[in-house]
């Protein structure tokens, strides 16, 4: 069995490895770099920047921890980026090493589907190689979305691709779109010293999260002196000599040195030869797939952002595994009910399952448990007391429907609840489980207890 994978991001490279594990002869075609957006321009670069920002924040408040610092602290963006590039390159080498170990062939070039059994690849040196295959997995990903009036120029109008490689820290930054990407960059560059203004069309920041979580994040934005203008559109942008001026729908203007446009992502489904084989796409150009990751063309699968489902690296990877197993003759299907998601703001946000409003809209009678990080000894010891854990449960069955966390290490804490939801466990199951002290995880246990009004470290209501 020969399988060709078009694109080596977290969807494609994982699909390739699983296919090889199942005995297929695998060729991967990648026109930029293995690891895709996630590793080269997204998840990992931003997390190294977040790590630098966190160290800076701790250093600025070092006296709070009883440490004397003789001298000042300041971010050096060149060195921060050097570190970022080093981290990325280690991971890139790691993926290439895995490919080698599984005997996966990597072609560094751009692939075009000629027919369901053939991909033409224009290699980086301009030469052409044709790949004969039995099955194709399309994993071409997505790119920062732009609207014509805000065309990216890499100088003053930035995409997230640019924002992970800025050669200097802007004095001021206007962030259009206060979603996941916009908020992460806002906290990073605010810590590095930029004045930040965010403009969001929706009524709140991270509007896809539970409302209560958004509210707390907005307060944290305020604490950091990041200005959020919600419910407002940017209507026009004028580029000036040393700045950019944005005209807002309420008649006001915002001027900043640079603008980061983070309004979402567009799928990469053009110029890859889809029309040659008649793969069906939707309104946004997304490749339409079923829960086996099959397209309408037999033997052609699609995974990751290009399917427009849930644009998260870990969803792409799971889809990649499903596609690879099916391409190799299996019968796997995906379930999107329990997908944890994390946002690396300060503090972090993580969620899984239903939001409060979703649960009510679905007709559930719900019970909610809440627990504040500031009631945990560990949070005080760490000096990170802001945040909340919220667990939503079905009143009748006591099963957990959703969990929403804003606070230190939220992205790590969420998985206990993800497992619980995935396995249909009850609030009592979590509450009955002994949690180690002193940890942040105790907050999950307390929030579960609070669903039944029995949290120990919550005063009588």
């Amino acid at each position: 069995m020969k399988i060709a994978v078009l694109g080596a991001g977290p969807g494609g490279y994982v699909a390739a490895i699983r296919a090889a594990q199942l005995g297929a002869s695998v060729t991967v075609i990648e026109d930029i770099e293995v690891g895709g957006t996630c590793l080269n321009r997204g998840c990992i670069p931003t997390k190294t920047l977040v790590a630098s920002a966190e160290v800076l924040d701790k250093a600025k408040n070092i006296q709070d921890f009883g440490i004397e610092l003789n001298g000042s602290v300041a971010p050096n963006i060149q060195k921060i980026l050097e570190r970022k590039n080093k981290v990325v390159s280690i991971q890139v080498k790691g993926i290439r090493g895995l490919f080698k170990s599984w005997g996966i062939k990597i072609l560094d070039g751009r692939g075009f589907i000629v027919n369901p059994k053939k991909i033409k690849v224009v290699l980086k040196d301009g030469s052409i190689e044709e790949v004969e295959t039995d099955k194709i997995i399309i994993a071409t990903g997505s790119r920062p979305a732009q609207i014509p009036m805000f065309s990216f120029d890499g100088e003053k109008i930035l995409s997230s691709d640019d924002a992970v490689n800025l050669s200097h820290i802007p004095k001021s930054l206007l962030v259009i779109g206060a979603g996941v990407i916009g908020c992460e960059f806002a906290f990073i560059y605010r810590e590095f010293g930029s004045e930040i203004t965010m403009v969001e069309m929706m009524p709140r920041a991270v509007s896809t999260e539970d409302e209560e979580i958004s509210e707390i994040l907005e307060k944290e934005l305020k604490k950091k002196k990041i200005k959020l203008i919600a419910n407002i559109k940017v209507e026009k942008i004028e580029i000036k000599k040393n700045s950019v001026q944005a005209f807002l729908s309420d008649g006001k203007t915002v001027e900043a040195e640079k603008v980061l446009v983070s309004i979402g992502r567009a799928v990469n489904s053009r110029d890859i030869g889809l029309e040659n084989i008649g793969v069906k796409t939707g309104q946004r150009g997304e490749i339409i797939v079923n829960d086996k990751m099959e397209t309408n063309v037999e033997g052609v699968y699609a995974v990751g952002d290009v399917t427009g489902k849930i644009m998260l690296a870990h969803v792409a990877s799971k889809q990649g595994i499903i596609a690879a197993e099916n391409a190799a003759g299996g019968n796997a299907s995906i379930n999107y009910d329990t997908v944890p998601a994390a946002i690396f703001t300060s503090p972090e946000i993580a969620s899984v399952g239903l939001r409060e409003k979703q649960a009510l809209d679905k007709g559930y009678k719900i019970k909610i448990g809440r627990f504040q990080f500031r009631a945990l000894g560990k949070a005080h010891a760490m000096g990170e007391i802001s945040g909340l854990i919220k667990i939503i449960a079905d009143e009748q069955s006591d099963k957990i429907l959703g969990a929403h966390i804003i606070g230190p290490h939220a992205s790590d804490l969420i998985h206990e609840v993800a497992l619980a939801i995935n396995k249909g466990l009850t609030v009592k199951d979590i509450a009955d489980t002994i949690h180690a002290h002193p940890t942040l995880s105790e907050g999950i246990m307390e929030a579960a207890e609070d669903v039944h009004g029995a949290a120990i470290h919550v005063p009588k209501k």
Binding site: K219, K222, Q372, R374, H380, I385, P459, K460
Partner: protein, 130 residues
């Protein structure tokens, strides 16, 4: 001691009237219950707030809590000192720890609030219930 020249709300806020101006803060009982205050979300100027609704939120090392406005009005001043040193509220809840000034329209709302002796009696009753 709880001052006599102000009115008290059952959610442990106080209001002091001077002309159309209503100065608002939290009571000594509130600051003691909250413990060390570490942050207060200063309300936005020119916003309006209704009596018995949240004026803003306050964070202590123990908990976060709503500050309920005892009267309706438009926010005309906020205590900017609280941005950097919110612990003033612990130190001087009826003085330097004031939170905001509202311009009020309807002074009759004051009638439903407690005077100091009523408030102290209310605190005693609350304590018995717990």
């Amino acid at each position: 001691m709880n001052p006599e020249n102000i009115k008290y709300h059952k959610e442990h806020t106080w209001v002091k009237i001077s002309g159309k101006k209503a100065i608002i803060g939290i009571t000594n009982y509130a600051q003691e219950s909250l413990g060390d205050i570490v942050y207060i979300d200063l309300p936005d100027l020119d916003n309006t707030v209704d009596a018995n609704t949240e004026l803003t939120e306050i964070e202590s090392t123990k908990t976060t809590s709503s500050v309920i406005s005892p009267v309706s009005g438009t926010i005309t001043e906020v205590n900017e000192d609280l941005a950097e040193t919110p612990e003033i509220i612990n130190e001087d809840p009826y003085g330097k720890g004031w939170i905001a000034v509202l311009e009020i329209e309807d002074k009759s709302q004051l009638d439903s609030l407690m005077d100091v002796s009523e408030y102290e009696k209310y605190l005693e009753e609350e304590a018995k219930l717990k």
